[in-house]
Amino acid sequence: MVELPPGQRKIPDFIIYRILGQPEIDVNTWRLEITGMVENNLSFTYRELLNMRQIEYISDFHCVTGWTVEKVRWTGVSTKEIIELARPLKGVKWGYIYSADGYTTIVPYEDLVSEQSIIALKMNDEPLDIEHGFPARIFIPHLYGWKSAKWITKIELTDTYKDGYWEALGYHQRGNVWKDERFKKI
């Protein structure tokens, strides 16, 4: 039996949060940009992402509120691979992630480019539902779900920390599920 992170309980399906509403996405005009401290600013269409090398694995999803959905199959592009194409500059410490609904979050660079960090295009072998972030969401298994932003449009690499949406409301800078990093200490 796989151990759950501290303070988590299993539930059978995702609870859907749309804190800033659900954006309307035109997949023909949607782009994912990689910008900030990079040699090459890059922009990818949905089709281009689908044509890149896909990785796939099964991992649990942990919401900071305390629920976990087990054994979700994730398919998409390695975040590390896509960021390396942009040639990040020395000194990058954070990835600031923007979504189409105006949501933002921030992730330490080492977590952003960790082995299982993925620009997910599919969940359980199906393209993402709009509620789960179609056309693309980031997923980083060892961080709480608020870091795995849905409907992503831009990843900006930076050397300077700034709060995203939930971080401004006191949630943790990193959010490691195994360390119970839910809130910052002020």
Binding site: G7, G66, T104, Y165, A168, L169, D180, F183
Partner: protein, 105 residues
């Protein structure tokens, strides 16, 4: 209990109509019941009134929830007329770890 209030601008909440937050710096203390949390919020409201030069007419407890099994998030509203400042207080094993107030436009 010393309460140090630090106001700062935030961009990431503007879509929600929030442009400033107040972070409350304090020494560690225990909040082991809703009654204690309410007493703390009343002290806090006095400091907020002084710092922001506003009159707080009414304090409303709007709810609390468990965040995992060790943290509890309490929510209050500090009313100034028909508008309010939202207040979020977090405890960890009943120790206060965080208070954040959000101020709308």
């Amino acid at each position: 209990m010393n309460l140090e209030l630090r106001i700062r601008e935030v961009d990431s909440l503007k879509k929600k109509g929030i442009n400033r937050i107040v972070e409350v710096k304090t020494s560690e203390f225990t909040l082991s019941s809703l009654r204690e949390v309410k007493e703390y919020v009343h002290k806090l409201a006095k400091e907020v009134s002084k710092k922001l030069n506003i009159k707080i007419d009414r304090i409303e407890f709007t709810g609390n929830e468990d965040i995992g099994t060790r943290y509890i998030l309490y929510r209050f509203r500090l009313y100034t007329g028909r508008r309010y400042i939202a207040c979020r207080i977090v405890t960890y094993f009943n120790k206060h770890i965080q208070t954040i107030l959000t101020i709308g436009e």
